[in-house]
Amino acid sequence: MSTTKPVIGMVQGDPAGIGSELMVKLLADDEVRQRADIVVIGAPSVFKRGEDITGHTIERQHTSAFDAGRVCDAALQHIDLAIDGIADVPLSQVSAAGGQSSLNGLKLAFELSKKKRIDGICFMPLNKESMHLGGNPYMDEIGFARDYFGIDTAASEFNIAKGMWNGRVTSHVAMKDVPAMLSEERICQSIELADSTLRMAGYERPRIVVAAYNPHAGEGGIMGREEIDIIRPAVQRMQERQVHVSGPFPADTLWLKVRDGEYDVVVTMYHDQGQIAIKLLGFDQGVSLLAGLPVPVTTPAHGTAFDIAGENKANITPARNAFMMCCDLSEGLAEKGGWYDASRAADNKKLPE
């Protein structure tokens, strides 16, 4: 196996969604194949489903988890995931088997990354409900990943489209529970995570902007005090640490500035604040990055799309962008001293009084 290319673990995702066709389409793309050495992690029956849908046949070398990754000579390896009943999961339906295969696939990829067999992970869309049925006690995959790696510092999903990055302070949380979760400490951590993540992605000094929580940024406290009491102090503390950060600004005008290239990354306070904007502005492009883990993990920023699964018409661009970004982030990690360093993040938690 070549030493210069990154080794990427490609995880199948939910068998009932568009993941199987996306994966085969990616692997049928010469540029994708030349960009990295790839380890497919998934059930062969699901892979076959993708081949049948797309009409491509992909040669792979089946290998065991023990031999996989850097120690194998093949450019395209496949680790078979055996899950009871997976072959019988119909398209477009949630299932415990589908959720289990998603979880087992991710877990195996995490293990391989721990053993340094793979440099990065790119996974096809998961289904939260299937994962829930399959035994995931967390609201999302980042909770699962944090637990696996034993991380108690900030870890969060970033969304990237057309060069615009978005990280968020709270994510899969009911709106009424958001205000209680906003704290100066937590916002500082999110700003720090944005700073370190973009630095690792090659930004020399990331320009970070922080969104307000209330309409009109609270208009001087008339429409909420979170800006005055929590967000502004957090921004000021990070500015004192020489982080290039500004805000809080009202969400409406802020995204215009991001679109026009004034900032590299927006830190938003809640899920929809960033998601609406980035999906609209970067429609059909978006990538999600699970940041703050010891390995770069990317995925297309869309779901399983049960409504079009099996029709061979899913847009490949987000998955392709996710794969390419994973390769970029995974490249030359040894020289860079590895990916995210949790101990550095822990240091940064000790903020000046």
Binding site: K128, E129, H132, M139, S171, H172, V173, A174, M175, K176, D177, V178, P179, Y213, N214, P215, H216, G218, E219, M223, G224, R225, E226, P250, A251, D252, T253, W255, L256, R259, Y270, H271, D272, Q273, Q275, I276, A277, K279, L280, L281, F283
Partner: protein
């Protein structure tokens, strides 16, 4: 998605009221600049005649002012003619310096314009920017045009922003985000939905409006895992409306709703809170957004900018937002004028 307004084709032009708002701001400048060009409608500025004359002098624009005559038929004005419904100032105006003695003047103008709309003298009202703080400093509680007009006309307002065919209405407006979840009740939401539906029919002339409704929570609550307002409040209200065969779709996750695939089949979106709905209009590039207040017994549109005190009297301002607001008011007034009585 942006459409050119359909102007009335019959011989009598429509008559609109314009309140320039804060006299020390750019509102009077807007009235003057607009009067410098010919119009296909009659725009009556409800303001101080002396103020408009002096602002026109300051800007070096020659105007002939004409006093509004409610008994005459509306007439389209030529370039340089400004029709005014004279209202006395409290104190002389210095550009850029709002004075508390003119707070009552600002509200007097608004009262006159609103009352004249309600009694049928005007087909609609376009409001310019006011300085909320100076009105409050004068000891008059004032949280905004929308609330003020609603109170004067004893009605329940629904705020909508419209850019061409893209329309977003709000279930809640200017309150802290932490208060939004408890502010949305089945009762309030049902009322908002009914006003929105009725006004899309009556004001916009859409026979069977198709409305997309956002969830409050991420992923529209994901079956209750991420919040229960969709199950407890929003869905029951929409089910009730759907039982009446009204086209309400949702609650949908806001981040999927605001994508072209969904929007192309909708006449309006109902968002649950300010920043869920309004930013989209600003960054989606749908054109100039106009603020329309639904639920009132009059047509009311508004500019989307503030008083820009530092630019008053400078001549360095754009009239695009005002023209968009006027065009929208004309469009709605035209529907009103041509609609068969209920």
């Amino acid at each position: 998605m942006v459409t050119t307004p359909t102007l009335p084709t019959d011989s009598t032009p429509l008559r609109l009221a314009f309140t320039p708002g804060e006299p020390a701001g750019i509102g009077p400048d807007l009235a003057v600049l607009l009067a410098a060009k010919p119009r296909e409608y009659e725009l009556v500025s409800v303001a101080s005649r002396a103020l408009l004359e002096s602002r026109a002098d300051l800007l070096g624009i020659a105007l002939s002012l004409r006093e509004f005559d409610p008994t005459a038929l509306p007439q389209a004005d030529d370039a340089g003619v400004l029709c005014v419904m004279d209202t006395a100032l409290g104190t002389p105006v210095t550009c850029g310096e709002p004075h508390i003695d003119n707070a009552s003047y600002v509200l007097n103008c608004l009262d006159q314009a609103v009352d004249a709309c309600v009694n049928g003298s005007f087909s609609g009202l376009v409001t310019g920017p006011v300085q909320k703080s100076i009105i409050n400093d004068a000891g008059i509680a004032f949280s905004g045009h929308t609330e003020y007009i609603a109170e004067r006309t004893q009605s329940s307002p629904v705020m909508m922003l419209a850019a061409g065919d893209f329309r977003v209405a709000l279930a809640t407006t200017h309150l802290p985000l932490s208060k939004v979840a408890s502010a949305i009740t089945q009762r309030s939401l049902l009322q908002t939905c009914r006003i929105l539906y009725r006004d899309l029919q009556d004001r916009f002339g859409i026979t069977s409006p198709r409305i997309l409704v956002c969830g409050l929570n991420p992923h529209a609550g994901e079956g209750g895992h991420l919040g229960d307002e969709e199950i407890g409040v929003i869905t029951p209200v929409l089910d009730q409306l759907r039982a009446e065969e009204l086209s309400f779709t949702g609650p949908l996750p806001a981040d999927t709703l605001f994508t072209p695939r969904h929007l192309e089949h909708a006449d309006a979106v109902l968002a649950m809170y300010h920043d869920q709905g309004l930013p989209v209009l600003k960054y989606a590039g749908f054109g100039t957004a106009v603020n329309v207040t639904l639920g009132l017994p009059l047509i009311r549109t508004s500019v989307d900018h503030g008083t820009a005190l530092d630019l008053a009297g400078s001549g360095k301002i754009e009239t695009g937002s005002l023209r968009a607001a006027i065009n929208m008011a004309l469009e709605l007034a035209h529907v009103e004028a041509t609609r068969p009585a209920r």
